[in-house]
Symmetry: D2
């Protein structure tokens, strides 16, 4: 159960509300975000909702039977709009494209990427500076100094920065240089990191764990929201199955389900999903038709020379064709007036 508190609620009124809920055997969690103030009541007993219907200072009250609460569509009728500033939004009315290399490599490479993005009217650049690598001996990214350079170039060009954060202490260090903190698939249940990201005012993109269920992804989002941050983007990026013909099983089934269960925007990563260059375009177009609100895709001026993930990275000409087709596909989907 979610109680939306009024902005003018007094301490006494809040204490009264908490008391009342606890008296029916429910546990109460107070949540204060950028946009709202809530009490989350968790419990199993049946009770007469009229008992708590007339609490002072309580703006509205919603029963949510899902295991996740604040990220559920059951209480919030309008979909979440993530406003990144300068006219850049991620939401269900538009189609967002985030593109860039797997790893940030150099100032020159960032420059050429930015040019490619601007040519194609793309406002968000991805690029890893801290890279989670299976082997401790592999390249782990250019680090914080690299991020500062990457960020400066993007700011100059009016491009938003999307990059992965791997641990709690990096959140503060990276904060000023990032527009969307990306949480990778291996940290999908790193609950301390999720808590910490809940305390920031920057947007957070949560990748589904490669063996995480749809419900676990929504619970991860609940961590961030309940710690104070409503700016959350969900990202399907492929799950681990028995099939070995491709890198991961991009699970497009998750897209309409996430959109029905949650009010958060849903984007898809076909690069890590199917993971093979030839299949990125069909899977990205399919994702769009399945209802994705955007795509995050790996592009590089010379995929063969990329420091990581070259086999799943598009070159600029392939990418350009993809952007064009994505927009046409989204346009057709929108004409169906389907919000799936």
């Amino acid at each position: 159960m979610i109680l939306q508190l009024s902005k003018t609620i007094t301490g006494q009124e809040k204490a009264q509300a908490i008391n009342t809920i606890e008296s029916i055997g429910y546990q109460v969690n107070e949540v204060r975000t950028q946009f709202g103030h809530y009490l989350i009541a968790v419990g199993k007993k049946e009770f007469d909702i009229r008992k708590i219907g007339h609490l002072k200072g309580v703006h509205d009250l919603h029963r949510v039977t899902d295991p996740f609460k604040l990220v559920s569509k059951k209480w919030r009728v309008h979909d979440t709009d993530i406003n990144l500033g300068d006219g850049v939004h991620i939401n269900r009315q538009s189609f967002s494209i985030i593109a860039g290399p797997c790893s940030i490599e150099s100032e020159a490479q960032t420059a050429v990427t930015i040019e490619h993005l601007k040519t194609n009217n793309i406002r968000m650049m991805r690029g890893g500076v801290f890279k989670p690598r299976t082997s401790p001996y592999a390249f782990r990214g250019v680090g914080l100094e690299g991020l500062k350079q990457f960020s400066a170039q993007c700011r100059e060009a009016g491009i938003k920065v999307v990059t992965e954060v791997m641990q709690v202490s990096q959140v503060a260090e990276m904060h000023d240089y990032v527009d969307i903190f990306q949480v990778g698939t291996r940290n999908a249940q790193n609950f301390n990191l999720l808590d910490e990201l809940g305390k920031t005012d920057k947007a957070v993109m949560l990748k589904r764990g490669f063996s995480g269920t749809i419900e676990e992804l929504l619970q991860a989002a609940e961590y961030v929201f309940s710690a104070g941050n409503e700016k959350i983007i969900l990202c399907e990026r492929g799950i681990r199955t028995f099939e070995t013909a491709y890198r991961n099983t991009l699970d497009l089934n998750a897209v309409p389900i996430l959109k029905e269960k949650s009010h958060l925007p849903v984007i898809v990563d076909p690069s890590h999903g199917v993971g093979l260059r030839n299949y990125i375009e069909p899977m990205a177009l399919a994702a769009t038709m399945a209802g994705a609100d955007g795509i995050i895709v790996e592009v590089h001026n010379c995929p063969e020379k990329a420091l990581s993930d070259g086999q799943q990275t598009l070159n600029y000409s392939e990418a350009q064709q993809l952007y064009h087709r994505l927009r046409q596909t989204f346009s057709l989907r929108r004409s169906f007036s389907i919000h799936h």
Copy 2:
């Protein structure tokens, strides 16, 4: 290695060809289909292809390194067209829709389905008469007599019959009443059944095993082809994974991969795939954008009363909207001139 034999090859020339191939340590399998006559040579040794380049009666010769041979795109440049007669085809130039109830129930219900199909310009009806059921105590279908009735009604209406065959002895019994034999996911590696279907002249639709790899699906097709039948349709219908939010993980990644690896048409079954009515449309549209050559979908005039699979079955008005959108989506995809 595939040797396409000329129509006029003599017994002596064939013996000579077999001898030559065996002499380089390869095992030879002779295949005779509706449309061709082949020798399939299987082995691992490296050899000088010029040794066998000038065999008499050999029209053409192709190295195929895939584990599957005749169904591989490596030797056949043109895609397979399945001609069902009366102007009904399944191929990569058109978009095929197969619709109908999970189970055939009654003459009346078939009649109303046929009317629905005709209204929507659909030429192929699905409907099970032999139903594989997990429990021996569940409804197992109306059987052969039901098929005869179903088939008579379809023939009358110019509709092609698509229905599941479960065992070898049914192939002959069902032959005259069927246009496409469907092999279900549980029989995906029933090799005797595949062999038997290789001897028929009717088209065969192979569903991927719910835990079958893409390569195993292609090997199943190789069974049918090598036993004499080139009329094969591949069908992705969802795989079994850890996710429980839906029925099966419809694996759209398989679509572009199957189309790249094989010359056979590829259709998708979103009804068994995601398995929940609300998500059939987005997944069907996504499949189309991923490159599917068609869709097989469960529809019923009253899904709530269907004898099986009601929760994944569309009603006629939902279905009508879907057909319309599928055709628009295919049209957009075709405008991309992509053959993925």
Copy 3:
């Protein structure tokens, strides 16, 4: 619900019983096996059991809430004993070892295997004569004639024959030469084959589908039992997962669960399970400790030259050590008086 009918039930009494059950909204299936006569009532309504408690000709009545009925331990308190004759049994009081090559190859090879078995006091030999192969071009076994030779040699030596049946028509052909019909993992849901095996008087060993659930294995057993054959052995042989370090994930968790849910004996196949020679022994011993009633294992006088599955086959000296250790391990387990 299971109604055990008395041997002297009259036609009228049976009709009366069926009527009564149907009148409470349950569907009735009559089952007649080698050992019993049952009515299986399937339905969902709650009802007063006293209503049907005093039916004439009904020996006993058991509520079974499992989806499978006759194979459930909920109604049969004593565990099933499979009597193969000549003092050979498979049951929970003893530990059964079945050994032999993957494929029957020749009279000489069968002879040497039999000698190995006799030396080690083993009474059951496995060996495939019909081999399910992923590729249609691979060796498919020595066939029926090979089976006759194999069987003759075993009969001569007092050894029971365990071999795979792949299709309905083979059941009659193979009947006289087989002691245990083995149903392979790819036919785990070949319901027609299961039905046909229900009509035979020979024992049936059901391998779990490589992506079959424990419940599906029990439902497959229910098919055989409800078609008339109570002589069923369950076999865990590994499932398909994301792990590629071995052939299949031998799922020993299934062993104690199957033993708790069903009264049927449970054996384990470590050869197909882990699928790598070095790990056969530890997994076989582990299976024994997990509660397995026996092991089916691939052995060959020269695994390197076996026609199939050499990499997972033990040589005679490895096998001999294994048998010895299996028996010691079973002896320790028995001392725990645990029937898991």
Copy 4:
């Protein structure tokens, strides 16, 4: 390739060694642990090993073709012994039992657990103080203050403390109160945490990710080792598959494989593995026979009242029987002189 450096190597000799290796196109990582000093050379080129055979200050040199290096058995012939002090070891010569509640609850409950352990001659207690929970609203453990109390009680009783660490900053905070840092399945690829644990002198128990491969577990161990800590214990705790009859698929196949590939001790967690109280004993005994060097198991004086995981927790009388049988089983296995 691993170069073991001599204790007396000079700076100049090391620089010379690094130069030589880099000159053949290999990348060099220097590793300094509690027990050794190594250079790890990673590369793909073939080269003449004699070129680097006579480097001064290099004690020994090992080619390791595995993707993991320092944890591989290919270079270290003797198995690792984890010495926890006071005569408590984890290694392959003995069988270790770690027992305790899922969560530390209170001083009284710790006291009763310690008494249970002492009665049964168990020297290591498990108990979570920081609990990773899927929902942000669930109980997250008694925290650092709880750990201090728990640790003080254990120290008093001569019992070693095994508890989960969830993030980098906790490593220092928890250090003085912990004997074995446990890394949970959700942090199996939290590379920053692994790095940090590499800098501590305490033992680290790595749980396999619930969808982690065996190789990924070994790579996680490589992170810890290469960051400076050789005291690593591997733990199999079940993987996520399609089966829903139990909590996780405890993958005992991993046990003999890990023992063959690595020199580190391997323990098994049947509580999280199969996850159902009735099956803990058979799976624990099976793990022992598969070659496990120990077991970590959840016990509670009153499982029904445990704050978490009650359904998979043994009571003291069940546990006592288990310990006894584990020791008998290990004793039998040791009599086989098998080191699997």
